[in-house]
Point group: C2
Chain length 333, copies 2
């Protein structure tokens, strides 16, 4: 079990200072207080105050996404959400969900029966039973990477795909690439459409033609790369921009199988910056979404929806992390 | 001067309850506390705590926009911003600004010299001297209706133009209109481009052709309507969607002069919902931006930028306010 001493060691401060931070004392700075609380949550320490019943409850539903271990995509999203919520005394319940469970009870009734003031939905697909119900829900709700039109109670949070794709394409152009392919994810997702539109608009704004033989759609999993990597290379691609890191890792593995040398013969860029992006060889250049910040921003949006401010969407800046999978284009012989 | 009694009368509660709210007492509900504080700020009451020096200071710069009276566009933006900021103990300075003043000192230096932790810029034009500097500023900054690419310290806040234009077009289509014109504002503004793109995408998604003879650009002022109203009608428009309310009011006045009957012969829709939209005859159907909420959301974005969460954009839902300037299309003879 995590103790105050563990937190003190981690931060390199006295245990008494940690106690002050956890007990909201007046003689430590607000910034240090926040840091102590953030660290306590990250390390799984539970204060008396957190154990106390509160009438302020939020529910985070998670589907189609791993979240239990630090390397899982959902882990940091939950961490950031809880860190931000706890500062304002909200209790957060994490509920794994499936379509079957959603069929058992309508969303609004579930939320009201459990006294939740707001919901944060992560990893839902467009076909999920609750998604239709969100068009008319009266419960303040934040959706990660999904957008509901016209309902002032529902906000969309995510990372700005347009800016992400654009900085990736600018990076490739600076390396001399012009034959830039897009290997995108599942066609029934809003994010896929956004990333495709971003690709088209970025290519055009840099004066490059959009060649549909350089665009392919798979799903957001490694093995989709098997079906498209060879044909994209055959169509002349010198670089492949992928809809997420799993697809990019799939491309790297497929190139290994086909003896295509990376990055000399092909540059590859992912999207997300999952932990595996750093450990694969060559290490993956990728567009990073900061998942702790996504979680914090989701709480912020939910907080304001609960206060009746009709937030429609709130997006974070992506950041390009340059590693080893991108290089100067090979001059044609 | 506003007294505690005035606030009590306005809210219909006891003066002692107002005192409790202003003094952060523990025996009134947090919601009532917020309401008391919001009302105090709205009525111009200043508490001792507000008078006290604090090291937490924000600056709101305002340009090209009236803000001193309740009917001014900027008034409620400032109100909402101050209401949200004061709850978290921020001191807010309101500074009217001009391009000349911006030339005197770089933005970052001005902010640091005055100990401001963050800035909120309202009404700036793309050509303003400080706009270029925002591409590299290290000061957390929120811009209303303007977007700076790639700088994680700067966020854009506004109202979702795409959804706004789309609900207006859906309203007109439901009334039988298909010849829907767009009278847009100044061409050198991001918002103008957004609204044009939104118009094109909404028309297309409803299966209507985009006829460039039904699109005109003026400036965001009444008199621009003089140069375009007749020609849009001549091109067959049965409805004119305007880039803001001032343009729409200009169209109404121009139709009055030309003896075009509204809304029987022409439907008109504005954008913003300024107070004049309600008083003109016929009263203007318009896409509303809630300016108090815009102010609150701007503080929220600035708060998170200061906490190093790189918010890129945060948009509010628009709302269609149906009044008298739109009607069923007249069936052609």
């Amino acid at each position: 079990m995590v103790t105050i001493k563990d937190i003190a060691n981690r931060l390199g401060i006295a245990p008494s200072t940690v106690s002050k931070g956890l007990n909201d004392a007046n003689d430590i700075s607000p910034d240090l207080k926040k840091l102590v609380l953030d660290t306590a949550i990250e390390m799984g320490y539970v204060t008396k105050k957190m154990k106390k019943e509160t009438h302020k409850r939020l529910c985070l539903f998670i589907e189609n996404m791993q979240y239990e271990h630090p390397q899982d995509f959902g882990f940091d999203i939950i961490l950031g959400f809880r860190q931000a919520a706890i500062r304002d005394d909200w209790e957060v319940h994490i509920v794994p969900i499936t379509p079957i469970l959603q069929l058992r009870e309508p969303y609004d009734r579930y939320m009201m029966r459990n006294n939740y003031h707001g919901g944060f939905l992560v990893g839902f697909a467009l076909r999920d039973p609750w998604m239709n119900q969100l068009e008319t829900t009266t419960i303040p709700t934040v959706l990660f990477d999904n957008c509901i039109r016209k309902n002032p109670n529902v906000a969309y949070i995510g990372t700005d795909s347009f800016e992400g794709i654009d900085i990736a394409i600018e990076h490739l152009i600076a390396l001399g690439h012009t034959k830039i392919a897009l290997l995108n994810g599942s066609p029934d997702s809003m994010i896929t459409t956004d990333r495709y539109n971003a690709y088209v608009s970025s290519m055009q704004s840099h004066g490059l033609p959009v060649d549909e033989s350089l665009v392919a759609h798979g799903h957001y999993v490694e093995e989709s790369a098997k079906y498209h990597t060879a044909s994209l290379i055959k169509s002349g691609a010198t670089a492949i921009l992928c809809g997420n890191d799993l697809l990019a890792i799939g491309v790297i593995k497929e190139c290994r199988r086909m003896h295509v040398k990376l990055p000399q013969e092909l540059s590859v860029i992912g999207f997300d910056n999952i932990p595996a992006a750093e450990t694969i060889s060559p290490a993956l250049t990728t567009i990073s979404q900061d998942r702790v910040d996504l979680g914090r921003n989701s709480f912020a949006a939910l907080y304001w929806l609960i206060a009746k401010v009709p937030i429609s969407k709130s997006l974070l800046r992506p950041e390009l992390i340059v590693r080893e999978s991108t290089a100067q284009v090979r001059t044609s012989l």
